[in-house]
Amino acid sequence: MRALALGRVVARRALSGVLVLWGAATITFAALHTVKGDPALVLMGGEEANPSPEALAAVREEYGFDKPLWVQYGIYFSRLLHGNLGDSYQQHRSVLSAIGIQLGPTIVLALSTAVVAVVLALAVALATAGRGPTVAGAVNAVTTVLSSVPGFVLGIALLFVFSALLPILPSAGNAGAASLVLPVVTLALPIAAHLVQVLQPELDEVLEQPFILTARTRGASVASTKIRHALRHCLMPIATMTGFVVAGLLGGAVLVETVFSRQGLGRLATAAVSNQDLSLVLGVVLFAALVFVLVNLAVDVVYSLLDP
């Protein structure tokens, strides 16, 4: 029975995810056709790139730019379904392989950040919940400031303190775990601040429930009550916020990778926009949408396992 219900949830969410991807692809198709002038020329890097007439003709042929719009739409989709995101004129390789090369460092950055953010948020929320208005006020003030500071400003502040003032951490590059510390902290602090703001009222409410008092009268310590009973109630809000966290990570990576001169998808996207490398920008967008859909699908499965 339960497996069946789970299967239904997965099927429904997967369908909804496919619709989202279809929509995102339609948006990128529309973007391709809102550019001024000849889209084939834009895809090849515009006038300045001075593409050969043969190369232009090949792109026109590939995308079917001389055919009616609905045929182009069909061609675009069949290309996407075959995993063909086009070629980056700047990188001189396919968009898919350009993304593939830069993917690793960003995944490492994003996963470390997610772990650090969630652990930090849980630790702060558990340590400060139910300690009265002064502590709650202080936590609120700190989390408000942290979630207001733009990510790149926070990154530069950390870089200045821990790399220029006290030279204990590297300021740039991808070499080793030490180079990961500042970028991860920069990305994790605002996300953790956000999570704490959601978790703290939730925990305060849970700690007033009768079963907490029951546990306490049975002789459980404050710490163990919080960890064993209250922690479980934190999982749902964290799961709900996963979408926000993922989007924040992908968007934040763009700025943080630039601040700390790291290799990765964010730098790739920034360079692509600066060079007006349209197919690469659209490829990164589609990839981000795919990641968002997959992560949310995974969260929904976990969700229905936690709360059938």
Binding site: R12, G23, D204, G251, V273, A289, N296
Partner: protein, 323 residues
């Protein structure tokens, strides 16, 4: 309706997050309710402490208001605050320390930092307010149509919003910039468009609540046209809860715009803009950290101030105390 995200209205998105994320409860009943339990006994807020907190909150709100007012003056009449030309290069004095002529010193090209800061307020506030206007008008339109339309219309528009939500705001803005080139106006439009989905979700949810209320039914029975009901009765009532979220958006939009300029995708040199100032100042971080400090402080304080006012507005509209 199955939606990819379980409950759109509950899901905070970065720019207006502080608005939709539950703010810790007021210091009274909720936090200290289990007064008998050992860890909270004796910590109930005394009237004196509450009065003190109220005063502190009022001071913070007033300071935020004064700061934003000063920014508004800087944005509209920069000439009142500084006589220096923000792009004029004083030869021979790059990276000079504060002096009588240059209160905050000069930057790497010998331009007056204070003047650039003052003149940069226009671009930042322009992006903040302009982008928010686009997000609110676009979002209200989409949300209203979806909320009042039949299942098919609602489904179509909310699916479209789901698609936009699946792409991070910054990347969405980057598409707009790739298609139409970098610049302040493009950045404004880009940040605004990226904000439409979350506003649309709030308005739609509100519209769903309002459309079943008795006074809307009464208006329909009285024979008012659908458009009249939508614009005169549904929109104002669905819009009211959006006001604090809008105030919080402005700060987020200012941060996003500065971020784009920092990446070199917004304001183009030599135009003074805070994000762009940070981007160039970053190269002199070790020698002259103040070059980054001022614009960084300006952005952060602006976002904090708009956030503080937004939250105060939210509490006022909810009929709660400031503290």
């Amino acid at each position: 309706m199955t939606s990819l995200v379980s409950d759109p209205t509950l899901l905070p998105s970065p720019p207006d997050a502080a608005g939709t994320a539950p703010v810790p409860a007021p210091p009274s009943a909720a936090v200290t309710a289990p007064a008998g339990t050992p860890e909270t006994a004796g910590r109930a807020a005394s009237p004196r402490r509450r009065a003190w907190r109220g005063a502190a909150a009022r001071i913070t709100v007033s300071l935020s208001g004064v700061f934003l007012l000063a920014l508004l003056v800087a944005a509209l009449f920069p000439g009142l605050l500084t006589r220096q030309d923000p792009v004029a290069v004083t030869l021979g004095v790059p990276l000079s320390p504060p002096s009588a002529g240059h209160p905050l010193g000069t930057d790497e090209a010998g331009r007056d930092v204070f003047s650039r800061l003052v003149h940069g307020a226009g671009a930042s506030l322009g992006i903040g307010f302009g982008a928010t206007l686009i997000a609110v008008v676009g979002g209200a339109l989409v949300g209203l149509i979806a909320g009042l339309g039949n299942r098919l219309v609602d489904g179509f528009f909310m699916r479209a919003v789901d698609c936009l939500v699946a792409v991070p705001d910054l990347l969405l803005a980057m598409i707009v910039i790739t298609v139409s080139g970098a610049g302040v106006v493009t950045a404004l439009v880009a940040v605004g468009v990226a904000g439409i989905p979350s506003v649309a979700r709030i308005v739609r949810a509100q519209t769903h609540q309002v459309r079943v209320s008795p006074y809307i039914e009464a208006a329909r029975i009285l024979g008012l046209s659908r458009t009249t009901v939508a614009l005169r009765h549904v929109l104002p009532n669905a819009f009211r809860p959006l006001i604090p979220a809008v105030a919080l958006r402005i700060g987020g939009a200012i941060g996003a715009g500065a971020g784009l300029s920092f990446l070199g995708l917004g304001a183009q040199p030599p135009r003074p803009e805070w994000g762009a100032m940070i981007s160039t100042g970053r190269n002199f971080l070790v020698n002259d950290p103040l070059l980054v400090l001022w614009p960084a402080l300006a952005i952060t304080l602006t976002v904090l101030a708009t956030g503080t006012l937004g939250r105060a507005l939210k509490r006022r509209l909810e009929g709660r105390d400031l503290a």
